[in-house]
Amino acid sequence: MIKTNLNINDLDKNLLRDLDSYIESLEDPKGSLINVLHRAQMLFGYLPHNLQLYVSRKLDLNAAKVNGVVTFYSFFTEKKTGKYVVSVCMGTACYVKGSEKVLEKCLTLLDVEKNEITKDGLFSVKDVRCIGACGLAPVLSVGEKVYGHVSADMVEDILNKFRGDENDS
């Protein structure tokens, strides 16, 4: 069990200010919960419990309702993600072309479970629903960058590209 932190004061004040101004710009903040959560996840990278509590108070909604919405939709994550999120497409087109092997390879190479973060904090791996790039199946994306026609053998090279970036900077 992850210990739940419900202390709102732990949240980054600058990011909260950005979130507040977004919420204030909305006509119907309560009805726009999903948009607010999208913005919150964009700013913070994920939706920890204390952030969910903050949103619920800000929109005058029940915290249980907010949590219900967060956990309902697969796009929202309550767990911290790596600097680079490796997403392996699990749409049917990718599946029949062997995306399961690609996913397995990612997990073994990085020595993590799905949705967990590597020790160096650089990567986390998740499977995603069809991203509609079926012509390129199997598809893997790292952050915004999309790789097509990926085989298990190519995974290491792809990941190394991002490790390289890290060393340069």
């Binding site: 309560k30 009805g31 726009s32 919960l33 999903i34 948009n35 959560l37 999208h38 309702k65 219900g68 919405v69 309902f72 939709y73 697969s74 796009f75 929202f76 699990m90 749409g91 049917t92 087109a93 599946y95 029949v96 072309k97 995603v128 629903r129 069809c130 991203i131 509609g132 790039a133 079926c134 012509g135 390129l136 199946a137 960058k145 999309v146 097509g148």
Partner: protein, 573 residues
Amino acid sequence: MRGESEEMIDLLRDKVAELGLTNTVKVIKTGCFGFCEEGPIIKIKPDNIIYVKVKFSDVDEIFEQHVLRGHIVERLLSVDPETQETYKEDKALGFYKKQYRIVLRNCGFINPEDITEYIAVRGYEALAIVVSENTPEEVIEVIKKSQLRGRGGGGFPTGLKWELTAKHRRSDKYIICNADEGDPGAFMDRSVLEGDPHTILEAMAIAGYAIGASTGIIYIRAEYPLAIHRLEVAIKQAKEYGFLGDNIFESGFNFNIEIRLGAGAFVCGEETALINSLQGMRGEPTKKPPFPSEAGYKNMPTSVNNVETFANIPPIILNGPEWFSSIGTENSKGTKVFALAGKINNIGLVEVPMGTTLQEIVFDIGGGIIDGKKFKAVQTGGPSGGVITGDNLDTPIDYESLRSIGSMMGSGGMIILDEEDDMVAICKFYLDFSREESCGKCTPCRIGTTRMFEILERLINFEGTPEDLETLEDLAINIKNSSLCGLGQSAPNPVLSTLEYFREEYEAYAYRTKKTSYQIIGDKCIGCTKCSKVCPVDCITGSIKKVHIIDEEDCIACGACYTACPVDAIIKP
């Protein structure tokens, strides 16, 4: 891929500018040509020559040879995988020959981020005609007469939906565009939104005028960032030109469109679930009636239509309902866009008149199966659909015919499976999807799909029994009959359909007779030793010019020997 294409465009633009040809040569960025397998693609007009699989390093040659000298670069033309012939013009390509493009008419021809290009192909003319010459009732009559049916999968008559929404006299009404394309393996809507976003805006405004709504909402998946961006650009431009906003074409009609993002839930393709999601709630379906046409978004009359349905509207207004209803079969008019994917040569988007046979789609347009393997089945309708086997390939496709052979039109995803695909594993994949995407509201779907998944898992691990097959069938029928919404009612379809056509594959697991190792046919083996050399677990024995043998116990069924064998002496498990 996008990154590389952008670089090629920049390079071409630089070259044109360098030679001062900006008035005679224009480089444009277009939406998807639909021919995804052969991308990146460059097309030269007016010659209509298509270059495929273009690399950054090829751009120079295309520019120097074709653009400047008019010489065709033969090596970059598309090659027919069967006849080895090369194709120069797009229309001659087998891929395009049997297609008829209404929905995709502008995709790949106009720059989606430039409204003037849309206007040049009669864009917003349909809206102008409608708001200045027709009454809302007349517009609905035209759509009814065209016999257009919803392209999201259900096939409900669009004109009737509009009429039902129009008849409720309430202060606010809403038009919603369902762009939550969640069916894995389907990417039609994404391509339309990315390639021709203005068509959707125009059609939504026409729908708004017809039902008496002044607000349109596009509910789109957050997974489609490029489509979202292009819609934002398009909405901004349409407002600047006065095609959206107040008093459109001086008619007194006001219409505005906003974009709302989904957050990844397949069930939100169901209209009542979609409406709940729009209101910031969990995307759980509610029972119908009341239908959204009576009490939808914010409890107001709402018409929810799919992207592809909308894309048909402007051409129907411009060309007349008779033109549209002359295409297709008796009960299914117009065309349908399919996303071909899986083990097929020409992966991509195809648009064909209703009534085209699967044979034509898979072999004439799709170019047949990859690596010359044998066709096994087409899966249509995704997690809600079923499989169509070789026996039914000559069925003319429409809503009714697909249902009668145990599949469904669905949104248009078509996954081609070859002889190597394991039907039980494919079903396990779909059930895993459905159980995860079940919203959890009703028990048959929430628990039933999980139980079905567990049985399939058990079978695949050789831990199942013959009784499991009966339980699986019972469960499937019960879930179908007792679930609240379309997701639950159709989730068992992949299993039911494969149980009908490929029962022996289930039985092979249940009776544990499924072979798990490759075998060598003694008569065919020439003793070349190629198989034993590639075997990663060294389970193939035999010496030169002697028949080789695979040890069934040790074989891991990796298929390396099968690929290596020069005389097809190895058979699959």
